[in-house]
Symmetry: C2
Amino acid sequence: MAKIKAIKNGSKKDVISLKAAILFRKKGYNASSMRELADNLGVEAPSLYNHIGSKSEILQNICFKVANDFNQQLSEVEKMAGNTMIKLETLIRFHIHMMLDSFDEVYVANHEWKQLEEPCLSNFLTQRKVYESRLIEIISMGIRNGELKKMHPHVAALIILSAVRSLEFWQRHKKNMNISALEDDMVTHLLNGIIK
Amino acid sequence: MAKIKAIKNGSKKDVISLKAAILFRKKGYNASSMRELADNLGVEAPSLYNHIGSKSEILQNICFKVANDFNQQLSEVEKMAGNTMIKLETLIRFHIHMMLDSFDEVYVANHEWKQLEEPCLSNFLTQRKVYESRLIEIISMGIRNGELKKMHPHVAALIILSAVRSLEFWQRHKKNMNISALEDDMVTHLLNGIIK
DNA sequence: TTAAAAAACTAATAACCGTTAGTTTTGTAT
DNA sequence: ATACAAAACTAACGGTTATTAGTTTTTTAA
């Protein structure tokens, strides 16, 4: 009899998506049942199908919403004026904020994309590959400009991406750390490694 | 009628474990069925139970074998003579080799430990925490000695761990890259960031 | 107040899962 | 050759899953 409470500026589908992201992060996509998700929403499982098409559709929504956010920000950075360092700093800070603000969704996109069904899976993987290429191109340009050290841009990109991803592990230490100090530390550390 | 071929110096249980690691890495633990694992071994699913106790036992074997390997190497490094840099270099190179030589097992231990059942789950998490603490202690000692820059040892440890973990993504580029050059690059890059 | 639409419910289904039981085949050692 | 053990097989079970169908309740709008 309970109803799904819609969030401000969000459909009930969005509420389901949000709760699903939390559940999928904690237990994994396949280990999360629709019954448990419904339970978390105070509702019976079949009721969910008034709002969503299928379980895998929820995963798709989560993964592609995250991918779109990252792609959009990357586009803005590409259009940005300024030197390579500022572009990279902007991008790194965005990654950090996404990881801290939309932790569950980003985590699920990073860990559960394998459970996407075709053709979504291929689509997602292509997007990741393209994102990586665009980041590498920004770094390459910085190397050509002489702004960055001579290095393999692929390696630099991976180090940056893996470092921001390590923030996953910081979730549990959140209370003990000053977030903005952490952010500055990480930006400095990563950029110092590649700036000339 | 086909039989499970035992590997040199390995029981049939080990062969199952190995094939399971490959399957679990590709599809995830929960998305991998015993029937599919058996298929990969040329056998019917119930036949597996002549060699193993349960599906979750396989996951346990994979996760704790990896954990033991890392713990053992860490113990040797702690007993090592030499300065902090050499210790860290040894450890980083070991991580890289584990990632390249036992890719599937390490990947599964990193990605599927959540699917362990209690009390294995708690045991595993404790081991990870202790491992991290011991690494942090090595770094702290280096800072106290004046060998390393003044920095938060926790941050340094996470950057190192996340960087070697990023080698997961390198699997697919294996052919295009010189592995030992990559290893040297990564060691240099990581240590340059923290050495005084 | 009433009709329509939205969203909850109960009941049920077909598919798949890990696993067990019981049996037959295969390999090994006397 | 024969006996024993190891390891394969078939058949099946109980449980869980996502999902559908059909119905009832709740909300919305006129």
